[in-house]
Amino acid sequence: MKQYLLSVVTPTGGEPPAPEELKAIMADVEAFHDELKAAGAWVFAGGLHAPETATVVQVTGGETVMTDGPFIEGKEYLGGICIVKAPDLDAALEWGRKAATAISLPIEVRSFVQD
């Protein structure tokens, strides 16, 4: 069984959904998580705070430097992740399709390196 990372591709500077809309999305996401667990495909899932809450830590020549904000600023940012177990890409893409339906955002599906 392989493991896949489902990344929520969130547009930078997009309007957050209205409260009642958000509530509906959260219910759909909860249902998606329940489905993953029932299928034995669940590993982990979680939403992330906005990129401006991030801190970048770098160590150069033994010295630690901390920087405010995301390392790379782009048109999209990582809004949340979900890790699933799936036998192959087709199965992982099917989970990706369900996640994209629940969240109404594009989902990137990528496999973990395995030995």
């Binding site: 192959d88 890409l89 087709d90 992982a92 496999s111």
Partner: protein
């Protein structure tokens, strides 16, 4: 002593005919494309050495598959001696390979090739990668041949293939015929890869025709394979029919000077009668299924052209009906444009022009829409406007034969206006 010799050309022929079959069986056994390709190439190296002396084995494909499998097992065992875990994996593979030997009936081989086609044309791969993999693994074309046909440097094509194979392995693209619910979409992807290969060869400009025409032959070979593997898919039949009917006109669509000859001006005695007959029979066969699709309808349109002994005798009303059907299934501005051409033949150029002018902005930059508009204007005697449209068309195509044709028409329009 006088036994027929097996020369390099004979081995080459077997290679082209059987490479895809052998690779797909070996991928099925070992679960890895690189292992499979390497093993099959090893087997052909042995064949080049042995066959001239021993003669062709009774089943060259079976010989290649068995030899490749044994080579791959030897290699895996050798590499596994270092590591206990690898040794176990190799033992498992060898056992599976031995099992596979017993179950090697023609049906199983057929399924392997079908799996490989769906892997090569998986929607998670880019179109360029799908095309390259299909030609390499199923067509048995060398990387150099594919690179030449697509006018890219060989290292670029080699890298494209390596990346695609890495993605298959790393992302876990399955080696499997898709689930029933995914099959229509996935089949569409396979058919469009084969048709794209055909069109790359068919639309080739005069200068590089020689290196690109083999793509038509290869696409038709793949089309025949799809029909053999999926005899119940009418769209696979439709695609093959469409390619055969288009290909039947290959000799007639190029003038001795290398220029483009339009359908209406072609010498119909130069159409390949055998290809026309085969294509028309396939059109009848698939339409009987009563599950029309875009390839079947396009093939039917081509069959109507093939039926006509002269351009003037073409059953244009029938073609308009078929374009109406096509537009109902796959509405697109390109379909609407071709329908306008057929309408112009039935109701006159003014009616066709009205339809072309009513098309939306989606066709901006598409050379054929300007060329068709130019032709309709020319037939209406509006030469200055026609010349402007020919110039717009010229600015949008890089194909040398098409450019020559448009320049000639443009000169005529300017001269007459």
């Amino acid at each position: 002593m006088d036994e027929p010799r097996v020369g390099a050309r004979e081995v080459e022929r077997v290679f082209r005919a059987e490479y895809g079959r052998a690779v797909s069986v070996l991928v099925g056994v070992f679960g890895d494309i690189d292992v499979a390709e390497e093993a099959v190439q090893d087997a052909f190296t042995v064949a080049v050495e042995r066959w001239p002396a021993t003669g062709l084995p009774p089943s060259p494909a079976g010989w290649i598959i068995t030899t490749a499998r044994n080579r791959a097992i030897d290699r895996l065992r050798r590499e596994a001696t270092r590591d206990e875990r690898q040794a176990q994996a190799a033992a498992l593979l060898a056992a599976r390979a031995a099992e596979a030997r017993d179950g090697e009936d023609e049906g199983a081989v057929r399924d392997d090739r079908l799996r490989l086609i769906f892997t090569c044309c998986h929607p998670s791969l880019g179109t360029g990668a799908q095309v390259a993999l299909t030609l390499r693994l199923l067509g048995g074309l060398t990387t150099a041949e594919i690179a030449r046909a697509f006018l890219v440097p060989e290292p670029t094509m080699a890298q494209r293939l390596v990346r695609a194979k890495n993605k298959i392995r790393q992302a876990g693209i399955p080696y499997r015929v898709p689930y029933e619910s995914d099959l229509p979409d996935r089949l569409r992807a396979v058919l469009s890869v084969v048709y794209l290969i055909f069109n790359e060869g068919y639309a080739a400009s005069s200068g590089d025709r020689l290196v690109r025409e083999p793509l038509c032959t290869e696409a038709i070979r793949l089309g025949r394979l799809l029909v053999e593997l999926m005899p119940d898919e009418p769209e696979a039949l439709g695609l093959l029919a469409l390619m055969l009917l288009s290909d039947s006109r290959r000799a007639a669509r190029v003038s001795p000077g290398g220029g483009l000859v339009l359908l209406a001006d072609q010498d119909r005695s130069r159409w390949d009668a055998a290809l026309v007959a085969e294509g028309q029979e396939l059109v009848r066969r698939c339409l009987r299924r009563g599950r029309p699709g875009p390839y079947q309808i396009q093939a039917a349109i081509n069959a109507v052209h093939s039926d006509a002994p002269s351009a003037a005798a073409t059953d244009w009303p029938q073609i308009v009906v078929l374009y109406d059907q096509l537009a109902a299934i796959t509405p697109s501005p390109v379909v609407a444009l071709h329908r306008a051409v057929a309408v112009a033949e039935v109701e006159g150029p003014a009616a066709g022009l009205a339809l072309v002018d009513a098309l939306g902005p989606e066709l901006t930059g598409y050379h054929l829409s300007y060329a068709i508009r130019a032709d309709l204007l020319r037939r209406l005697g509006r030469d200055t406007e026609a010349a402007d449209a020919y110039e717009a068309a010229l600015a949008c195509t890089g194909n040398a034969a098409e450019q020559d044709f448009l320049r000639a028409r443009n000169r005529e329009a300017r001269g007459g206006g």
